[in-house]
């Protein structure tokens, strides 16, 4: 009996989670005029692909997608490299200034992004990176959260493994690459997903930096549709649906690692 109640509650919440998404899917195939008439689901015979065609004709949607993939890919790989190296250093070494470094970085996580927009813009300009993808990738290399995540996880790598590798003659980087990283694979998976999601959904900074619409990423591109003179709801929903798919797919593939890695990092507190 208790089991039934548990499952009922779970199903209820599952519905609450899924219904907006289902509505998204339904709306992507709903004609614009039908939005007023059929608030939830249009009858099957009125489903249409028109939104998708208008999506691709009204704007360079494919290009937006490619931009997003490129920026996300480059950013995540760089972040992964720097954060894992940094996290490793913080976890497995003792050196002067360690506490200061950690303290400063922790504090900076509290600073709200918009404060830094103007000076950052100025900086990126002087580097000649305005309206370029590098202008997104390069500042994005810094991921303090990631570094702490890796540190947390790598703390639990037994020191004996490192010592053994040292005795075998490995240099420190080799230890990092061949010993620590393979063991940290779950956290790598988790981090990749988080970092990918972060970059994929990044909005404010790209909106300021990118100016040619050919360089827009998906969030900026889709938001464009809400122009002053018209609101193409159907295409907006179609675009949103397509924009969300890559993350869903990635999560699907990485679900186990993600959960494992994330919680391993957090549970140790």
């Amino acid at each position: 009996m208790r089991r039934v109640v548990v499952y009922m509650l779970l199903v209820l919440f599952a519905l609450l989670c899924l219904v907006p998404i289902a509505w998204l899917v339904a709306s992507a195939f709903k004609a614009n005029a039908d939005f007023h008439v059929y608030p939830v689901v249009p009858p099957v015979d009125r489903l249409t692909l028109a939104n998708f065609t208008s999506l691709f004709t009204q704007m360079p949607f494919l290009r937006f997608m490619m931009n997003s993939f490129f920026v996300a890919g480059a950013t995540v790989i760089l972040q992964l490299f720097f954060s894992s190296l940094g996290g490793f250093a913080l976890a497995k070494y003792d050196f002067a200034g360690k506490k200061t470094v950690m303290g400063v970085m922790l504090a900076t996580m509290m600073i709200p992004g918009p404060v830094l927009l103007a000076p950052m813009y100025e900086l990126i300009y002087h580097m000649g990176l305005i309206d370029s993808h590098l202008g997104l990738i390069v500042p994005g290399m810094v991921n303090v959260f990631g570094m702490f995540l890796f540190r947390q996880s790598m703390l639990s790598v037994p020191d004996e493994m490192l010592q053994a590798a040292r005795i075998d003659g490995c240099n420190e980087f080799q230890i990092f690459w061949h010993v620590v990283m393979p063991v940290s694979r779950p956290i790598v998976g988790a981090f990749c997903l988080i970092a990918f999601m972060g970059t994929w959904n990044s909005f404010l900074w790209p909106q300021i930096i990118l100016q040619s619409s050919d360089r827009f990423t998906l969030p900026i591109g889709l938001n464009q549709m809400i122009g002053v003179y018209e609101a193409d709801y159907g295409a907006m929903m179609a675009g949103t649906l397509l924009a969300v798919l890559p993350v869903v797919v990635l999560f699907f593939l990485l679900q186990k690692e993600f959960i494992a890695g994330l919680t391993k990092g957090a549970v140790k507190g």
Binding site: V188, G189, Q224, Y229, L250
Partner: protein
């Protein structure tokens, strides 16, 4: 020692994957990134070194200017890059661009309420050129109604030229109101004041089903329309804040009861502000008239096709006999940035799109219903065509008739702040009326507006006198 099958290609691949220190995820991401990168390499962004760049936030404007840019190339052999920027982003981008002094467009369209913010600072450091010399030199000043320039003038310098005038008329359900009035020997044009309007149409009021006017009190637009109609304003011509003067108090005291009353004393309601719910309400007769600036009239044509042939426009009923029959709402200006490399060229293009041929303006009017401030264009036939949607009225003529009387709107860097405070005041007054009714209402309004205005004044007081700095 090798087991059977492991040395095959897939086996080797699998082994390699398994041994990869970082695992599958980064590989996948790197792979997609690479593919995307290749795609981008193969389809590079065409490097446009256009001679002029222009930022526009309205899709319709962008299309029109794109066409103009194409003929501009033919005429002058110079290119114009018209970029469509998201409305919500334009101000932010412009501000960032001006701040970092980079990538500032030569020409930019800015919405009226945001424009004032860009005029702050020392006069010679404002990000836009003073266009008055150009206007005078090319004899355009007399072609444009003076009030249209008010919002974009600061300390005597004209920082932007107006795209529009945006006169406000009353759009009403002719199919409902006209027969009703006719039965009583009246015409809509006879209702010269708001008092006349509400008195004569009272018979049509059905609480919860049919209201006489759509008023969206919550976002201060309706209030500003009425305020301007009465000769008031948020700011005065000298940059002085006047949102709490007698006219403002009178406007608020008059407007709030229209929406805040109950039962059959409540004559106005709203379901939305020119969004889908609004159109639904209008279509279903939930309200039978709405305050309609020219640019909204084209929206309603698109989004409320069911009202085809059922609507008409008339000048607004006046606040008092002999009063103003129109008002103003919204606006866009075109500015030329201080850092434009070739201001003459930019001005030339500006003239093309803003003060071009009558036919050009006529075409714009046909698609957007927007009345150009350029008087010379008003003779174009497009403004005088009867419109079936509007029961055969020549829509252009209706707007032209009131164009010269449109009250001026004065801007200021503190306009957004003032509007926000005004917003709050309106909502407070609404709640006050709902709970206490008319008793002591005017005194409350006066005090409430004053405290809102004082807040803005305190902010204004902090503003250094930029022009005496140095």
């Amino acid at each position: 020692m090798q087991a059977q099958g492991v040395d095959t290609a897939p086996g080797r691949l699998r082994r390699w994957l398994d041994e990869l220190p970082v695992g599958l995820a980064p590989l996948l991401i790197a792979a997609t990134g690479l593919i995307a990168g290749l795609y981008l390499l193969v389809h590079p962004v065409p490097e446009q070194r256009a001679d002029l760049t222009m930022w526009v936030f309205g899709a319709l404007h962008a299309d029109a200017y794109q066409a103009a840019a194409e003929s501009f190339v033919d005429d002058t052999d110079r290119t114009v890059d018209v970029q469509l920027i998201n409305y919500n982003a334009v101000n932010q981008k412009l501000r960032s661009a001006l701040w970092a002094a980079v990538n500032v467009p030569d020409l930019v369209e800015i919405e009226k309420s945001a424009a004032g913010g860009f005029f702050r600072g020392p006069l010679d450091k404002v990000g836009f050129l003073d266009l008055k010399p150009y206007l005078e030199r090319d004899a355009i000043l007399d072609r444009v109604p003076a009030h249209a320039l008010a919002a974009y003038t600061d300390r005597g310098a004209v920082f932007g030229v107006p795209h529009d005038i945006h006169p406000v008329l009353l759009a009403y359900r002719a199919d409902i109101i006209d027969p009703y009035l006719a039965r009583r020997g009246l015409r809509m044009e006879d209702l010269a004041t708001w008092d006349d309007y509400f008195r004569e149409l009272r018979g049509l009021l059905v609480p919860d089903e049919r209201y006489l006017l759509q008023i969206e009190y919550g976002d201060a637009w309706a209030f500003q329309i009425f305020l301007l109609q009465r000769g008031g304003g948020i700011f005065g011509p000298d940059g002085r804040l006047r949102m709490d003067d007698d006219i403002a108090v009178a406007t608020m005291t008059w407007m709030i009861p229209l929406v805040a009353e109950s039962g059959d004393r409540k004559v106005a309601e709203s379901l939305g502000n020119w969004d889908p719910s609004f159109y639904r309400g209008f279509i279903e007769g939930y309200y039978i008239a709405a305050l309609c600036p020219d640019w909204r009239s084209s929206q309603i044509q698109t989004f409320a096709k069911e009202l085809h042939g059922k609507l008409r426009v008339v000048p607004l009923p006046a606040p008092a006999p002999g009063g103003l029959r129109t008002s103003q709402m919204g606006g866009t200006m075109l500015g030329i940035s201080h850092s434009a490399k070739d201001p003459e060229l930019a001005w030339r293009f500006a003239k093309e799109i803003y003060y071009g041929s009558p036919e050009q303006h006529g075409r714009l009017f046909r698609t957007t219903n927007i009345l150009t401030p350029d008087r010379r264009a008003w003779s174009d036939p497009a403004y005088h065509e009867p419109r079936p949607y509007w029961s055969g009225q020549a829509l252009g003529e209706q707007f032209i008739a009131v164009a010269d009387e449109v009250p001026p709107f004065y801007s200021s860097g503190f306009l957004p702040s003032a509007q926000a405070k005004l917003n709050e005041a309106i909502v407070s007054c609404y709640s006050r009326y709902r709970s206490h009714g008319a008793e002591g209402f005017e005194a409350y309004v006066r005090q409430r507006l004053k405290s809102a205005a004082d807040h803005v004044r305190r902010q204004m007081a902090r503003e250094p006198d930029w022009d005496t700095e140095e």
